[in-house]
């Protein structure tokens, strides 16, 4: 058999596969096609001067394109829909999380400044106000680290719980900042700011 004929057999097979995989999302379809084409190429390279029958045999081992597609479409259906929704929600909330994490970082810095400046002015008020700032300030970097670590680990898929915990943490921290700042920013902080300005 000539090389062109074995090529035609393989091309026909891959075309049939592409057609059978049509219902799948583009990225998934592309990946499967690439992998199976690579499998065919590797299997073929192990044969010396393959005959027509060798190629048919090789393609038989890989199986009917329709069976592969059925398996792929079944597997797609098995990914729980809620998981996919969580993923979309998670990714779309990423900019919000970024803003909140920045806010929490500012809070952390403010807490440290507050601790340093108010010290000596009203020591009693110092403790819980600064503690609040510093705890909230710590939430930001921890949440950012969790989200980044998880996204890098899963290849930006956003499927596991770690990133969601990070996201939730940043949101809770951010809400805490926004709710409590009006109560916490009192004359203590103003005194502190004045203190800095005087020096």
């Amino acid at each position: 058999m000539t090389a062109t004929q074995t090529d035609t057999l393989i091309d026909d097979y891959l075309r049939r596969l592409a057609k059978a995989l049509a219902p799948l999302p583009r990225a998934q379809r592309q990946q499967l096609l690439t992998e199976i084409a690579e499998h065919v190429a590797t299997a073929r390279s192990t044969l010396e001067r393959p005959s027509d029958a060798d190629i048919r045999n090789l393609l038989d081992r890989i199986g009917r394109p329709e069976d592969i597609a059925a398996e792929a479409i079944g597997a797609e259906a098995m990914v729980p829909a809620t998981g996919r929704w969580l993923g979309h929600i998670g990714l779309s909330l990423l900019p919000v999380a970024g803003v909140l994490i920045a806010l929490e970082l500012v809070c952390g810095v403010a807490g440290v400044v507050h601790y340093v400046t108010v010290s000596g002015i009203t020591p009693k008020r110092r403790t819980w106000t600064t503690a609040f700032f510093i705890v909230v300030g710590a939430v930001g970097p921890v949440a950012a680290a969790l989200i980044l670590f998880d996204l890098l680990r899963t290849g930006m898929v956003w499927k596991s719980r770690l990133a969601l915990i990070g996201l939730l943490g940043s949101v809770i921290g951010g809400v805490a900042v926004l709710l409590f700042i009006p109560f916490v920013v009192d004359h203590d902080i103003l005194l502190g700011m004045g203190h800095i300005a005087l020096h």
Partner: protein, 115 residues
């Protein structure tokens, strides 16, 4: 076999494979990462495990989606870079649980079959 209807054996095997095959994939990756082609060939050459090599690729895609395996690209001596599969920590854990439950299950079934 007088009673054996060909379709029935196939259906039975496909049902039994369904639960176990993905853990066989994980088990093959327990010691080292493997090139997709070699992984698929190993499974295909094990008797009764896989009917067609091609159907393993959708399974690999699903395992990757679930975070049980991950892939890295390696340069190859000739030809384009190759995709290697390896087990993640979640994959190791899933495999451990399966092995434990599989032993229990196998013993129970054997006990009843041999009674």
């Amino acid at each position: 076999m007088f009673y054996m209807v060909p379709g029935t054996t196939e259906k039975l095997m496909s049902q039994m494979r369904r639960g176990a095959l993905e853990y066989c994939v994980l088990a093959l990756l327990r010691k080292e990462e493997r090139y997709g082609f070699d992984l698929v060939r190993s499974l295909g050459e094990t008797d009764g495990l896989v009917t067609s090599e091609g159907t393993i690729y959708p399974l690999l895609a699903r395992l990757r989606g679930e975070g049980l395996v991950e892939t890295t690209w390696h340069e190859s001596v000739q030809g384009p870079p190759r995709r290697y599969y390896q087990l993640t920590l979640d994959g190791e854990r899933a495999l451990e649980i399966f092995v434990e439950q599989w032993r229990r299950f196998r013993e129970s079934v054997d006990r009843i079959l041999e009674a």
